[in-house]
Symmetry: C2
Subunit: 206 residues, 2 copies
């Protein structure tokens, strides 16, 4: 599988770390960045648009994508299936767009296996107590769900070393985390392994 | 050898790539950045100040530093000796300052051996013909010296893959190269191997 011309950025980390806000901010700042739209079997909410927030698909269509190897990663959550369509990502990369996605931690590691050149960024809130506060403040989950998600978060932390970067989203300073992410997105383009051999050769012999 | 708290950035590449101008621009922009002052046996020029441009030392003092392992790298050029004093660099890093140096390519690789955590950036002009023009325009070298330096540059290109980043200093756009370097300097701090194990542990258990 070719990695295409663009770069793939995978922002993951525990629930409540601020992924949604920060990825949205990055999309606003970088015109060359496309958001990797997930497929889901969950029904669309009133404010969600097909192809923008999700590709809404039936269970049989989801199974077809998954069994055909057309999902980079997938998971079940609350009885619904979510996955990252490979074709959409590859299409964007081939056109030279960078792509950003924000899968769960296990999904991020699956993407890294499929695309070793993907840039994995682990986002953490500055303190766990703060994560808890944010989950409580958001109030879209029951207390039982919050406890379960915190347990998942503790577990996810074990995988930090398999990521490329760790960015701390400090309480009350999301703009700093945006600046940090922008530096990472910009700098990755200059890493030596991003230059194909023939481009180096061109420099050498010109 | 401990790498200290700061990060060590090594900007190298062929003569005429614009290292001096860009490193100077980085020093102006980043208050936390210290320039690694070299030791030399060459006499000071009128506009050069001790401890700012170089540490001016006699041959016997230079030999003492070198034989005592107190130079991270050294080389002879035009009959004069130049070297990077280890103590100065380590002192800055231990105090939490980042350090930037601009040694020759072989020196950069020697520094990487001594400090595996050093960030090596290879700077190239956008085209070799342009490099030649710059060397000609600078006119501080004889034609024979220019040809010799171009040959060295061709040779240096073979080592590009041992660097961490490649930044192209495009003709007439040095401000873009400065932006690129700033992103690299900022992003490196967030690379996962920069976080000591105990800091990750702290995140995990808090």
């Amino acid at each position: 599988m070719t990695s295409g011309l663009g770069l793939l950025f995978v922002v993951s980390g525990p629930s409540g770390a601020g992924k949604d806000t920060l990825v949205e901010a990055m999309r606003e700042r970088r015109a060359s960045l496309r958001y990797s739209v997930s497929a889901t079997t969950r029904p669309a909410r009133a404010d969600e648009r097909e192809g923008e927030h999700y590709f809404f698909v039936g269970r049989s269509e989801f199974d077809r994508l998954r069994e055909g190897g057309r999902l980079l990663e997938w998971r079940e959550y609350n009885g619904n299936l979510y996955g990252t369509p490979r074709d959409y990502v590859e299409g964007c990369l081939a056109q030279g767009y960078d792509v950003v996605m924000k899968p769960e931690v296990n999904g991020a590691l699956a993407v890294k296996t499929a695309y070793p050149d993907a840039v994995l960024i682990f986002l953490v809130p500055d303190r766990f107590s703060n994560l808890r506060e944010r989950l409580l403040a958001r109030r879209t989950e029951t207390n039982e769900e919050i406890v379960r998600r915190l347990e998942i978060a503790q577990d996810e932390m074990k995988f930090i070393r398999r990521f490329d970067y760790l960015v701390v989203n400090e309480q009350g300073r999301p703009e700093q985390a945006v600046v940090d992410l922008e530096a990472i997105f910009a700098a990755e383009r200059f890493r030596i392994h991003r230059y194909p051999d023939d481009s180096i050769q061109r420099v050498e012999s010109s």
